[in-house]
């Protein structure tokens, strides 16, 4: 089954490119550490998902590029074309001359309705190229105007038009500071709309990825490209093919559907975070060996201590004693900053994957009281190594990971809202104070619900 990606805005387009490039190079990676035949099946599965083939044999990304100003799209198209390995479809992009100016309202209420038809047509053309459509990736930042505003608008239209297809928004969570001043407004407006129209929000925090670049990848002068590559790697580690089940050698047909069914069935809990291990520069990789036990031990601690990477994990944090009544469990959480999960998905790739012991992830103490580990935990596997890692693990988690950042954003936006700063920029394009209030209300509820697991 195929996934159609919609890349929106500068951030969405830059990341989209890196994602396709990462997917392509991984699936054509010669050192897949598996047989030729298996590699072919892996490639075919990846291709069906993310690429369609044109006559001359160059794969075409199943993607639609949307931006309201042309610079980034032109750059992205030519980068892909120059790679010579894959490219974007000839008529798969839409751009205008003037961006949304970091104004969510402009993206949502002006650009959106004005270009709805053209954008939806492009998407439909892409959908028609799929024998079987699983759903959509919508890559967007929530800080700016086009990604966030138009992204929310497009997601809503996808929900109307393709209500049976799955929609996963790849949300780029802005740096805590220093990208866009109105990012908190734009973010709450985006998140609250997406909570209505999207099925899952896979959140990528710029701050976290930035730290990974600095600490794990050892990059001195970090560029957006570095950040986007780490992010693409994380996405790839989740959505590259895995076996469809324990003991099966078929590749999973509908990873998006399976993931969502396992992680985001509850309407109030739609925010997902992703963690990877190991992540390191190529130089260090040559000198490292890994065991599944070691990787999984770290990954589990990253989960429960809410660490964004394997370095600097707080090993003091332990799951609360199970069997305690929910109330006291909650209070212990607060005290030790234990990160309670709703549901987790672990993806293992590489050698001897069938020997990996995942018992530690099935501890009921890790999860909210109302879900058993059997409902809350899932694992996907493949022997095929990912990228240059002989063994690697990824964790997609619906947990309290994002409560803190969300709370911060809502808090900052609320402060600004109370002073009525910048509101005039939004009312100019039809987003009124009530819309803000509506967003605040919904997100406060989400925060409360996540806190009260």
């Amino acid at each position: 089954m195929s996934i159609v990606t919609v890349q929106l805005g500068q951030c969405g387009n830059q990341i989209g490119f890196e994602v396709f490039d990462a997917l392509f190079s991984d699936s054509h990676c010669p050192q897949g550490l598996c047989s030729k035949r298996e590699n072919e099946a892996y490639q075919a599965s990846c291709k069906e998902r993310f690429f369609s083939e044109e006559e001359n044999g160059v794969p075409i990304a199943r993607a639609v590029l949307v931006d309201m100003e042309p610079k980034v799209i032109n750059q992205t198209l030519s980068k892909a074309a120059h790679s010579g390995r894959w490219k974007y479809g000839q008529h798969s992009c839409f751009c205008q001359k003037q961006g949304s100016g970091n104004n969510w309202a402009y993206g949502y209420s002006v650009h959106g309705p004005r270009h709805k038809e053209s954008i939806m047509d492009l998407i439909q053309k892409e959908v028609e190229k799929c024998d079987s459509l699983s759903g959509f990736f919508i890559i967007m930042s929530m800080a700016g105007g086009t990604g966030s505003g138009l992204g929310a608008f497009v997601t809503q239209n996808l929900e109307d038009q393709y209500s049976n297809s799955l929609k996963m928004n790849q949300i780029i969570w802005p740096y805590g500071t220093g990208e866009v001043i109105v990012q908190n407004y734009n973010s709450i407006l985006t998140l609250s709309r997406l909570y209505r129209s999207s099925d899952a929000l896979l959140v990528h925090e710029n701050d976290a990825v930035h730290k990974i670049c600095a600490k794990l990848m050892n990059i001195k002068q970090i560029s957006f490209r570095d950040i986007n590559q780490v992010l693409a790697h994380q996405l790839g580690s989740v959505f590259q093919p895995t076996y469809s089940g324990e003991g099966s050698w078929h590749y999973r047909r509908n990873p998006l559907g399976d993931l969502m069914e396992n992680l985001v069935p509850h309407p109030e809990f739609k925010m997902l975070g992703v963690r990877n291990i190991p992540q390191m520069s190529e130089n260090s990789l040559a000198y490292s060996t890994f065991t599944w036990a070691g990787l999984l031990k770290h990954l589990r601690q990253m989960l429960i201590s809410n660490a964004k990477m394997e370095e600097g994990i707080d090993w003091q944090i332990r799951p609360p004693l199970s069997g305690l009544p929910a109330l006291s469990k909650m209070s212990t959480n607060k005290e030790f900053h234990f990160n309670t999960s709703i549901a987790n998905l672990v993806i293992l790739r590489g050698k001897d994957v069938h020997n990996a012991d995942l018992g530690a992830f099935k501890d009921p103490a890790l999860y909210t009281s109302w879900l058993e580990p059997v409902h809350a935990f899932n694992v996907w596997k493949t022997q095929r190594a990912f990228s240059k890692y002989e063994k690697s693990a990824a964790l997609v988690s619906n947990s309290q990971f994002l409560v803190k950042p969300l709370d911060v954003i809502v808090g900052k936006a609320w402060n600004m809202f109370a002073s009525k700063a910048y509101i005039h920029q939004y009312t100019k394009y039809g987003i009124e104070e009530e819309d803000f209030l509506e967003s605040f209300t919904l997100l406060e509820q989400v925060i409360a619900s996540y806190c009260n697991l």
Binding site: E69, V72, G101, V180, I222, S223, F224
Partner: protein, 474 residues
Amino acid sequence: MTQSVVVQVGQCGNQIGCCFWDLALREHAAVNQKAIYDEAISSFFRNVDTRVADGGSISRGKICSLKARAVLIDMEEGVVNEILQGPLRDVFDSKQLITDISGSGNNWAVGHKVFGSLYQEKILEKLRKSAEHCDCLQCFFIIHSMGGGTGSGLGTFLLKVLEDEFPEVYRFVTSVYPSGEDDVITSPYNSILAMKELNEHADCVLPIDNQSLFDIISKLNLMVNSGKLGTAIKPKSLVTSSAGAFKKRQEKPFDAMNNIVANLLLNLTSSARFEGSLNMDLNEISMNLVPFPQLHYLVSSLTPLYTLADVNIPPRRLDQMFSDAFSKDHQLIQADPKHSLYLACALMVRGNVQISDLRRNIERLKPSLQFVSWNQEGWKTSLCSVPPVGHSHSLLALANNTCVKPTFIELKARFRRLYKKKAHLHHYLQIEGMEESCFTEAMSSLSTLIEEYNQLDATKCMPTEDVPRLSVAI
């Protein structure tokens, strides 16, 4: 891509404009080696087919003949004529000019009321024409001075005209404020009257202060001459110098100062024109930096103002660039942002600088800066990969900061002194449509603005207190 039109009004406006076009040509020539008319150039220049009588625009291909997207207005011919006879004559044509011979006599009312009504139609026609040449006109840059008659009077008249005619198009105003020892006696009147118009009809105002420019130049010269900057500095590589200009022209006393302002405009638009990993369109400036409609005065600073000999600067140099941008000495008006309250701040970086450099410096500088309680993280950033000509990198900082307030208070005080004596008032009141109420209204408009800054400043000493949030019943 979008286009901008520069409207230069009065002597000062035209002089700065002249520098701007010179530098803009220089910059695009350096970036665009193949002489292909591309989108970046199109934002400020039309490509005109000179073989056609009417001069039809060419949208792509080889550069044929570039025409500035500009309207030149002056009520004295001098400066404009000079430009038309100078090296830049080819980028303008007579259809873009509006001149008179009488001048405004340093009287805002003459510029605004008399010439305003006299030239309204003509101005509109030129503006419409220039707009027609654009396929997506985003912004008008108005360059004028506040002290004189034409620049302040007709310049601000223009704002209202633009607002009515092109409500969707942004109006960015570069206003040169008179310094204390200004030779124009009526400049306080003119400035106050112009301020009201700026308050009401501009989207963003970049106030520039001649005195500050002058101080910067003097300091730089001193440093260079004393060798204090060491061998790291290329000789004759200050941005204030016109060395290596597209076309040679004679250095004028104000050229160095005007060059700084011209550079400001170039850097302001660079991220919209050239590619980079974090773009910043012009509409993002007002979106991010203007929290309340009236508070649209942005204090700017430009660093570095000299070129390093070695392009591969060590990070310390890079960090110095950021530090400088916040120092009192580098502001383009006399203001001290570090000791005032920030409402918002934008850092527009050009050249070989990455997001990690930007973040490191924000983290480093943040503790020394004070931001308003509801905008503690009021940073907007952009990264443009094309550096200015002759530099490896540069930074333009734009601050919405209460530090503009002293300039306004000073202006108000000077106005008061003059107005108390009713000095020269009759020159104004004799103009049709001018009444005393115009002065009082302008005065109260300015007072209101100052009061708004005062209120914000008052929060500075208050402990930051979060507003109670909505409480969910779970």
